[in-house]
Amino acid sequence: MAIEVRIPTILRSYTGGAKSVEGSGATLGDLFADLEARHEGLRDRLVDDAGLRRFVNVYLNDEDVRFIGGLQTRLTDGDTVTVLPAVAGGRS
């Protein structure tokens, strides 16, 4: 099952510079585990013990996965997963 994963500039050091990579998995969590096998270190930039890291936004097609199941989000062949760095900050 092939899923296209779009990688932001900041994480392309883990993908040999590639803007997008392919992976497989029944859920988003499975996909990240699959990617880790070929792109070591990537998973750790996306998830921690509590789930998705707050520094990244992950989208399944046009939806933010935080609203549709997080790491348990179901994937199907032909889906596109997009990773963007969250843009946030503030004075405190």
Binding site: T9, F55, N57, D64, P85, V87, A88, G89, R91, S92
Partner: protein
């Protein structure tokens, strides 16, 4: 050094003033690799807070795709501080993830005088840079 037109600088300041006392945020896109800020994109602050900002994730996806389609990148990422100086906070530094972007901070703490400063933030290291106001 950030080179920016007076018009775009003034739009950032106007947005920061309009949203005061909440923090304002946005992007100026430019052709990829050009380092030229050209297209002003005011973003929602999903936090609507005087102490924190976060791009709305769905708006960000739309804007980032649009930049991709136009072969642009975020040349400037700006936000305002409304009660403190225009200098990156620890939170700003921990989130900064566009090594090629100019991080512009505006302070609206003084109603008459806007501070407008620009920084590079790479690997947690902040470097202030000069701002050159250039003709269009």
């Amino acid at each position: 050094m950030l080179t920016i037109s007076a018009r775009l600088r003034d739009r950032i300041i106007a947005h920061a003033r309009a949203d005061h006392p909440d923090e304002a945020c946005g992007v100026i896109a430019g052709p990829a690799g050009s380092d030229r800020p050209e297209r002003f994109i005011q973003m929602l602050n999903a936090e609507r807070s005087p102490t924190f900002y976060r791009f709305d994730s769905m708006e960000q996806l739309r804007v980032w795709r649009e930049m991709d389609d136009r072969d642009e990148e975020p040349v400037v990422i700006y936000h305002s501080h409304t009660a403190t100086e225009a200098y990156p906070s620890r939170t700003d530094i921990s989130y900064a993830s566009e090594p090629a972007a100019h991080y512009v901070l505006v302070s609206t703490r003084d109603p008459d005088l806007a501070e407008f400063r620009s920084f590079r933030i790479r690997d947690g290291v902040v470097a202030e840079e000069d701002v050159l106001i250039a003709p269009e």
